[in-house]
Amino acid sequence: MKRFSTLLLTATVTISTLLITSCENTHVSGSMSYGVGYGAGYPMYYGNGYHSHSSIVVVKPRRNNRSRPSHGQPRPARAKRR
């Protein structure tokens, strides 16, 4: 009985392996793409609460570009006071 079980198990593994590998495509063709899976086009990344505001502008110079050793810029026109 034990011998039969071992034989059955071996046969199952062998047949399964043959079936699986026969479906494998070893020939690589076409283009490969790696989806990043996040960003504006992927709202699921942000969950239900993603509300992108494309009109937002953030102006932030890099840290090494913030130096203004001699700033003689003119003042903007003053807004009229009430």
Binding site: G49, I56, V59, R66
Partner: protein
């Protein structure tokens, strides 16, 4: 020989004392230099929230910050720590006091003299929300609303209080979204002593310059938002994408994310806006 050693020590004692004294003076003057070099810069921020526990949980889980409570009862003040460095304060506020938000981040700008700046702000139509008061941990502080309603705090660091040296330097940037950028720029120029640098030919966006460095920006408030001026304070993180992922898991909303620029703005679960900037490689 023993006697000789005694005399030698006595002779060296004044030398030791003077060198120690000069070292102390040197470190004090360098601290003063650092503080002077950051006038006009965002150095601290406090979160005013209608739900302290929920806010604390969100920032602890998202950023890995730790928390410590000071005082008790209604005056309880929490400090959030990033790797042992104090990074922000959290206070309870009655959300009914604010018409729209349950929570609000109020950034503190380092200044030379809180009292005189507040007086100038009032003269230039600013509204004083909290008059100059001793902020025991770091120095003197005041909170005001500019003429168009944006709330901002001023902080005058106390040189004799060494606690400010344990403050995190991760507050990186501040940007004002304004309904009238020119009017706002003029206010911050007159009251806070910034120099203005227009960013475009329309002259409707500005850099605010102080201590020989660009410290903040003013841009138009998009129409899709409630038309009320507001400052957004930006904190530096190692990996914006990872932080945003965690933030949304814990209930935040992403308002803006420019992956190419390494900048984002989120709205935390209580509605407070917080900006993120990605750490720049040297």
């Amino acid at each position: 020989m023993k006697g000789f050693n005694k005399y030698l020590l006595l002779l060296l004692l004044p030398l030791f004392l003077t060198s120690n004294g000069s070292l102390a003076a040197q470190s004090e003057s360098s601290a003063q230099e650092i503080i002077q070099n950051q006038h006009g810069k965002l150095v601290w921020a406090d979160l005013y929230t209608g739900d302290v526990n929920a806010s604390l949980k969100f920032y602890q889980k998202t950023f890995g910050w730790t928390v410590k409570a000071f005082a008790k009862g209604s005056t309880k003040y929490h400090i959030l720590y990033d790797n042992g460095q104090a990074i922000a304060g959290v206070l309870a506020r009655d959300s009914k006091r604010n018409k729209t938000d349950n929570a609000l981040w109020v950034g503190s700008i380092d200044t030379d003299n809180v009292t005189s700046r507040i007086e100038l702000s009032a003269k230039n139509n600013g509204t004083i929300i909290l008059a100059p008061h001793e902020f025991k941990l770091y120095g003197k502080r005041a909170v005001l609303a500019d003429p168009q309603g944006a709330i901002i705090a001023l902080l005058e660091l106390d040189l004799t209080n060494k606690n400010h040296q344990k403050m995190s330097t991760k507050w990186d940037w501040a940007q004002l979204f304004s309904t009238n950028t020119k009017k706002a720029a003029t206010f911050y120029q007159d009251a806070f002593d910034y120099t203005i640098e227009p960013l475009n030919t329309n002259k409707d966006s500005f850099f605010l310059i102080q201590s020989e460095s660009v410290q903040a920006s003013i841009v138009n408030l998009p129409e899709s938002f409630e038309q009320r001026d507001r400052w957004v304070n930006f904190i530096e993180v190692n990996n914006i994408t990872a932080v945003l992922s965690k933030a949304t898991t814990y209930g935040a909303t992403i308002i803006y994310h420019a992956k190419d620029k390494g900048v984002a703005i989120l709205s935390d679960p209580n509605g407070a806006f917080l900006g993120l900037t990605e750490q720049e490689s040297e």
